[in-house]
């Protein structure tokens, strides 16, 4: 399989199949806080959007140049194709150009850990998942010391440009680095590539981040399989948590693909200021209504970050952070039940009540596991179990009141690592290859502080539009760790966006019927309608389906 898949030749946009020249647009502005952003990026602010077009001039030989790449943050399917796209792009311009990969993420750049990526090495990674070709890491590239240390190895290797493949934070840092080198008068370009399975790095110019398509398809495959099981055995409620802490794009896309009975969207919870109790009531309502129809089975999708979107839970966690810091030693010395009582006694009444309503194991965990900053580790909470236990309790109460008479047995799942490193779908394989190839062209055009941009993604690959977007254009000022910082705006699920509206329009029908879809595994060799289809999110956003 890996051997045959390696032979797949990703499709390139028509423009990139030729020699290209730059078409410049007008000067740009950041999405907000223009004055502050301009002040922070005096040398890279206001650059024009660029688009490549076919250059009909007689072809010329370009000077060879060397490129360094960094894979930053969590894995996403297609990373290896960004690498091979860059490689093929720079080699197309000049066979003498070289590509260097920094090992295990930004830290490899700072510590001068690298390898040259040759044709022989890249061959084995074409169209494969994972970032294992050079590894990835979560070190944040943000201090002048790191920039200067990195600069040394760039100069040593005669590297003309650095490509940073990462999410919103990493691309923000790419912009900061570009500005830093420019301000310093150093001739090194910095180009970003939009990566994250979470799908929260997107905007008018970046239609989707790579990896989202593949990861959602893998999750939808297994969710579909579970739903088929659920509908065959007819005896379990499956609570399925999906990766994605800061936005619910993955849960939404999977819900659109598989039509579960219930899917919670964090952004809706936040916007409507829903409580944990509201969520539990809603699920218990659906379970009891289905029981009336004779169905004691169903599926519930839950986004990983849900807890942090529930305003009351957020308040409770904030107060817990304070209480646990203030009374750390006292609390640590107590046995479980006493600890819960003591913490409870320190909380303000509203938070105390919510704390008391939580299942004991979860409440205990909130008083125990804390990160290096002393904060409650929200990511360790098994949200899918928390919610299913609370639903079970609610159903028991309803049973006593004669409002419910079904059976409620549960299974729990969490999908994340299953999809982050899957072999990319044809869509992601093509998209990432184009992003990489396009990055090589941006470098050749002498640009810095740009993100590689390939657009018009729901059209056939040939018609995709390739170019670059100044990263500063996507920025605004946000509070991070108590300080205002320039950052790329994170894209949350929009409640007036077409994907959410589509989901909301069929939510009731899906809850009270059994309309499961079973998308099956990603296919590489079949009809284009199956193999090359983009995500439902993208198709809806582009009005390609309704």
């Amino acid at each position: 399989m890996q051997r045959v898949r390696a032979e797949y030749q990703p499709k390139l946009p028509k423009t990139l199949q030729h020699t290209v020249k730059v078409k410049q647009g007008d000067a740009t502005q950041s999405v907000a806080d223009q004055e502050e952003i301009q002040k922070l990026f005096p040398n890279t602010y206001g650059l024009p959007i660029v688009e490549f077009e076919v250059d009909d001039a007689p072809s010329r030989v370009e000077e060879p140049f060397n490129v360094g790449i960094i894979l930053s943050g969590g894995q996403a399917p297609g990373g290896h194709n960004v690498v091979s796209g860059i490689f093929d792009g720079i080699k197309k311009l000049n066979r003498e150009s070289r590509l260097y990969g920094f090992l295990m993420g930004p830290q490899g750049f700072v510590d001068h850990q690298y390898m040259e990526l040759t044709a022989g090495i890249i061959k084995d990674y074409r169209n494969t998942g994972g970032f294992d070709i050079i590894g990835s890491g979560r070190t944040k590239l943000e201090t002048p010391e790191q920039f200067d240390k990195g600069l040394k190895i760039l100069e040593e290797l005669n590297i003309k440009a650095l490509v940073i493949i990462g999410g919103d934070d990493s691309n923000t840092n790419a912009a900061v680095l570009a500005e830093y080198y420019k301000a310093k008068g150093v001739d090194v370009q910095v180009i970003g590539c939009p990566k994250t399975i979470d799908g929260d790095l997107k905007n008018k110019w970046i239609e989707t981040s790579f990896g989202f398509d593949t990861a959602c398809k893998v999750y939808s495959e297994v969710i579909g399989n579970i739903q088929r099981d659920c509908n065959s055995a007819k005896k379990y409620y499956h609570f399925i948590k999906l990766m994605g802490r800061s936005a619910s794009h993955i849960a939404l896309e999977c819900a659109l693909q598989t039509q579960p009975n219930i899917c919670i969207i964090s952004e809706e919870v936040a916007a409507k200021r829903m409580t944990l109790d509201n969520i539990v009531s809603y699920i218990a309502y659906v379970v009891s209504e289905r029981a009336k129809l004779g169905w004691n089975f169903g599926t519930v999708l839950i986004p990983e970050g849900l807890i942090e979107f529930i305003p009351s839970m957020k308040q409770l966690i904030n107060e817990l952070n304070d209480v646990l810091t203030e009374h750390a030693d006292e609390v640590a010395s107590l046995e479980e039940m006493e600890r819960l009582q003591k913490v409870h006694s320190y909380l303000t009444p509203v938070n105390a009540e919510l704390f008391k309503s939580l299942p004991k194991a979860i409440a205990l965990q909130l008083t125990l596991d804390r990160d290096s900053h002393g904060n409650v580790q929200v990511s360790l909470i098994e949200t899918e179990k928390l919610i299913s236990e609370m639903v079970e309790k609610r159903l028991e109460e309803m049973k006593e009141q004669g409002l419910y008479s079904g059976k409620f047995a549960t299974q729990h799942h969490f999908f994340g690592y299953e999809g982050r490193c899957a072999d990319p779908s044809n869509f992601d394989a093509d998209y990432t290859y184009a992003l990489g190839y396009n990055a090589a062209m941006l470098i050749n055009a002498g640009l810095t502080g740009y993100m590689s941009s390939v657009r018009n993604l729901t059209a056939p690959t040939e018609e995709w539009i390739a170019g670059g977007i100044p990263i500063t254009m996507m920025m605004n000022m946000e509070r991070r760790h108590g300080k205002m910082k320039p950052v790329i705006q994170k894209a949350l699920v929009e409640l007036n966006g077409k994907p959410y509206l589509k989901f909301a329009s069929q939510r009731e029908t899906c809850a009270l019927n059994t309309l499961y879809q079973y998308p099956g595994p990603i296919q590489y060799f079949g009809p284009s309608e199956i193999c090359d289809r983009p995500s439902m999110t993208l198709l809806l956003e582009h009005d390609k389906i309704s």
Copy 2:
């Protein structure tokens, strides 16, 4: 996808593409306990193995006949194709023949819940996963009352033969039912079909049970994805539990496909009388050796049934069952820590020591959750967490002794429901369709007490051999719930079998290197070498690979 996949026409063995006649072999014997089995099955014992061959006689019109089917037990990919194979088979013999499906498993047969399966209904389920066409259930068909109740509906619908699609227990019951009807002089035939993802219903004549191939491929896909993630991030040990309580075929097949660092085989644990401590030591050893090489990441596969194969754990659980029954009220009234101490005090020294070595959460669970017979619910034990916690503790001890200096962070996964209802691989789609079609021919040949058998499965489909095996032939006497019963011998992983030997031969290399394989998703439309390839287990057993 579902639409396109529905158009797939499963390949049939050459023989079944023609009119067939029966070639009878010699009379058979059961695998053991011949005298007792013969006494219990006076009318269906000793029947010959039959094989179909092409009938060159001028074709004749067969009488129409009606068939009933039952899906029994856990889902397995391909069940719907058994149904469509039977349907196409009986319709081929006579368009007037009818197929009835009993709803939600054997209970539908007893309660006369059924539906007729018409061409229009079956069309939507061809080549799909799941048993949702008529549902499945776990009721055991074993009492004369059930048989007689079922007989009424068979007579009412003029059903000539009942096909039971199930695992070893269900097929055992099919044989008992066949004998019962025969003894009673009732003209109803009973035919079994070998189903179970666990792969433990196989022998000389049944090369594999259906669903094993697909389920293992789905698990291997996600294990491969996790391994790619593991090898990219290089910071976690992933403990992955795989479905399959009574045998380790699934874990073994997945290990062969994906080459994890560690895979525990329950049958080996039992044969070598390994303790939990031995297993923990082995894993801790591999982790520490990998740490010396600079690798603080890895993958560990664990079969779901492991605990019950560890002799000392089995003893502990047996004693716990006694202690908890004897002191039920006393234990139930105690708070957690006191309960653990009390239970501990009642255990014999060896078991007490083992009990004390268990992580607290697991020990508590063993004292709490009991099934309707009052027994400890072994299946609820999160074995993957139990083992990883014990390994962590062991590594801390080793660290104190200066024997280990790595990092050990873990992730846990359990895969089961993700694969039981996947769309069948081409192998399973073809195999199940042939099993069903073949069952129709067995019925037409007037046989009862037979299992549908399609063999030579590693050859091209055309060359597969179709026929029937008397179920009594696979039986021996075993103790079940305290009584000796005739049952089909369960196939455990053989420690002198080629699949295990292959695994064992590369175990050390896989542990101390990173040789992960990433099989990717099941493909339907690509080259035959990818789409039609049987399981590694089967290929090794048939000497097709080494």
